[in-house]
């Protein structure tokens, strides 16, 4: 998957976790938590969803990489380079 596809996958997951949030004006460089009501359970959901879709293992010490859209995409790009997008 290319970075742009990974971004779509993350957006798709976020829209399911937080259906009441407007994601159209999400700023990729600002932490998710400053733009929407996400708690630690929501981040766990993102990790589980990625594992389910792409069998990618994200160790707990790397959860900090999922802070903004930019950092999330950068972190996942090498891990998902061979994966087919599901979105």
């Amino acid at each position: 998957m290319a970075p742009e596809q990974i971004r779509s996958v993350i957006l798709d997951i976020l829209s399911r976790i937080a259906p009441d949030e407007d994601l159209s004006d999400l700023d990729d460089s600002v932490p998710f938590r400053e733009q929407m009501e996400l708690d630690s359970m929501d981040f766990l959901d993102i990790v589980m969803e990625l594992r389910k879709l792409y069998r990618v293992q994200i160790p707990e010490e790397d959860y900090g990489e999922l802070v903004t859209m930019d950092s999330t995409v950068t972190y996942l790009t090498p891990l998902l380079k061979d994966a087919e997008s599901t979105v």
Binding site: I17, M41, D45, M48, K52, V56, Q57
Partner: protein, 475 residues
Amino acid sequence: MAKDFLKDTQDEYDVIVIGSGLAGMTSANILARQGYSVLLLEHHYQLGGMATWFKRQNGHIFDISLHGFPYGMLKSCRKYWTQEIADSIVPLRGVRFENPQFSLETTFTREDFTRLLIEKFSIEPETVKSFFDTARKMNFFDDQGKTTRELFEEFFPGRDDVVRLLMEPISYANGSTLEDPAITYGIVFSNFMQKGVYTFRGGTDRLVKLIKAEMEKNGVDVRIRTQVEKVEVSPDRRVTGVVVNGKRIGCKAIMSNSNIKGTILNLVGEEHFDPEFIEETKAVRLNNSSTQVYIALKPGDELNFCGDLLFHSEHNGFDIKAMLSKEVSSRTFSFYYPETRPGSDRSLIVSSTNANFSDWADLPEEQYEADKNHLIETTLDCLEQYVPNIRDRVDHLEASTPRTFQRYTQHLQGASFGTKFEGLKVSKELPEQIEGLYHAGSVGIIMSGWLGAVNYGVIVSNDVDKYLTPAAARI
């Protein structure tokens, strides 16, 4: 011939979940959704664990623990269950306190508590704000040295009326005391204060029915009246299966929603663990148990609004020994009005009191029955001031004790709120002792209650999923 409750089970599953409390059912559902084959085993004839109900003659349905969970439950139910379940979660109207020190009603939100603390208790606004902010910032991995008593002493020195207002509802919700770590109080209190107290419209029976349907839709093999006798462990300390109703069923992982001490000491057995871990397990303190009195009014009796939850006490100040004492002076009344169950004309009242298992465990049968009757009669005496002529209006009456809780949940000593804080560490370290063995359920106070149980079920499911996803699959 007796019915075979394990008819047509597979020989092997990816995951076996032992116990169908909210944590167990949530785990079963999440793991099935992740694509695993899941078998859920429940010893009782009804699913739900402490999230339960019972039916009596004349169509009365009593909820055991339905009243009062935080708003977060709505979000968790939407994510881990269904939109329909989330949509049935509705706010309670009000919480009421009646005791020698004060009499008040509140929506149980930060906004309303701030108003009360300033106007009624004459606390400085900055102190109130600073207390709420401190509680909200607490994390479970923070310092555990400070107790809840010390937290209150820091913000409200010498004010046992304030302590009572802040503490009574939380003790009712999760059995915690002033000696427990301040973080356990701060986390749970902040969860509630976010948006007040909620309940499930339609009753616990409807909730569990919807939950069961969702689990089955996702492929969970749900079995009631199945008593797990043993967790099978290989010599190299990996789970390989369970023995249930005398039958062996294999599995790759086990999620135990049984009591943590019971899981380790009884289901698995001491010999399979490091001796230090067993020491630690034995040192885990169980939380207290409860007594409840169930009161159904005659059909059609229109109960006046008395609050949804009423914290009644005749005792001065917040005193946990007095709260647990068999000489009951503090009671929490849950009023279930007909709108709890749309279409019903029933009003029911459940009186709950935290209690010690030891006070009830060894009573001779005759004394036990007499003490139960005494509990019922004194509860009615107390209730008379809120519900006039209560004795003429009653259609059905009965009581439960710590012995009842032990029988139905199989929790050691009938613990109705899991374990004290140290239980969380033992629960989390279980898979380091035995590969593939996990526990989720009421532990450590913060993982107790409806929301704590559901979310802990999710957190541990993530670990199970991680374990079952082979490293080779990594992309």
